[in-house]
Symmetry: C2
Subunit: 263 residues, 2 copies
């Protein structure tokens, strides 16, 4: 069975059993995927506040109860500790481990944050005839560190990280309109057409990921990115923060249409 | 100078000096007003989670840093302890005091939650030709306890409280459309036309406030209400929870248009 059409529950089971270890792009297509951030209780309020104040970079899909690794609202059959294929562990701002599960890391005062991911709006863009060249090439959109500061909260601060997608000038309004309908998947672009204005010196040198070059009549469009918390972790050096490995997301039971704004 | 047109900063100053003590309906018209909930740090994460899981009843405008009574994002010149004319103090679920300020109550581990209020969408409705009879009569919309449970979070649970506004049948779609644009002011109705279906036995007997009778061709329309946390406090009996006195809201610097969804 193709991984594109399997249910989120089946996909998570394969991931849990280490039978599906690639990045999750396209898996259980049409379902919402999520970025993960785990912190201990003493930092949980501050990180919650950080996410609430920075909804473009950190749109909150679910926050677990203290100690719970079960996201009861978006995937009640899941286990946060095992259902992502690869994690990143940051201790005092240093990436110290990339484990395949969190069984040895989980403690009963941990809190998990599931934050929306751009796959939902990318699906909607592709369905509406807007090509996403990075998906066709099998990798993620290139990401850049900006000069836009996140709203601080407690110890948490740092720049907003953005992804860039080239869009034909004639399609920019359509792309803004479609992505605006997905506020829980980073929503509308935070900047359009001027890398310099957000502190990006050279569009040809992404800070993360592979370059997607602009073609004739294309404009670079920038969205807040869910790897912002990883950069925040490196910036403020909390004793412990655990995240998913970029591209290896948590697959929820929600469908993309469930998080679409209806007005 | 009319209280309708004074700036939020001036209105808060008058309130702070006990020179403006009435309910805040219509004051600094066009600015966003807010419900207040204050809890101590040990409950702050759970109440944050409760609000995040119940965005219709508890739409989050701002959460302060631990110990801070200054809402730096929505009213940086304000003081949460003094800038509401009347508060309610709940100890172990009992209403024990209705002080004019929180100077004697504030502690350095308290967190304040400012939650959106229906005044913003009511302004938009009136501007669009939908009459609000309760405003003309000088009181708040009648409120009812429903059989709809809030999503639980930590110790916090209880029924959703709703307000009811009579709407001409021909205007229901317009009212849904307009209020949908204000998700931070309770947003779209949670139920239309059937009090029984949400556990309201007698529409003529509101649980809070004065009755507004339905006229010919009017349908009762129900919105989640910001007094839900007061009922939650009475339900789960936290050691301490402080709120505004109903109708005596916190006036922010935000304009209604600032919280309007644009798509």
């Amino acid at each position: 069975m193709s991984h594109v059409t399997i249910s989120p529950d089946k996909a998570r089971k394969l991931i849990r059993e280490n039978k599906l270890t690639r990045n999750t792009s396209g898996i259980s297509s049409g379902h919402v995927q999520a970025n993960l951030v785990v912190v201990k209780k003493e930092l949980a309020f501050d990180f919650f506040l950080f996410a609430q104040r920075n909804p473009k970079a950190c749109p909150i899909l679910e926050v677990t109860e203290v100690g719970s690794y079960i996201p009861t609202l978006v995937a009640p059959s899941a286990d946060i500790r095992t259902d992502i294929s690869k994690y990143q562990v940051f201790k005092n701002g240093e990436l110290t481990d990339e484990p395949e599960n969190l069984i040895n890391y989980w403690e009963d005062d941990m809190v998990a944050f599931l934050l929306g991911c751009s796959y939902s709006f990318e699906n909607a863009l592709v369905e509406n005839g807007i090509p996403m060249r990075h998906i066709a090439k099998g990798f993620g959109a290139p990401a850049y560190i900006t000069n836009i500061p996140c709203e601080k909260a407690g110890i948490f601060s740092g720049p907003v990280i953005v992804t860039m997608r080239p869009v034909l000038a004639k399609d920019v309004t359509k792309v803004v309109s479609i992505t605006s309908q997905f506020p829980l998947a980073h929503g509308a672009p935070i900047s359009v057409g001027s890398p310099e204005s957000i502190g990006i010196k050279d569009l040809n040198k992404p800070d993360v990921g592979q370059l997607i070059e602009l073609k004739a009549n294309e404009v670079p469009v920038f969205w807040a990115c869910g790897i912002t918390p990883q950069y925040v972790a490196m910036n403020v050096k909390p004793e412990l923060m655990i995240t998913h490995y970029p591209g290896h997301m948590f697959i929820t039971d929600l469908k993309d249409r469930d998080i679409k704004t209806i007005i």
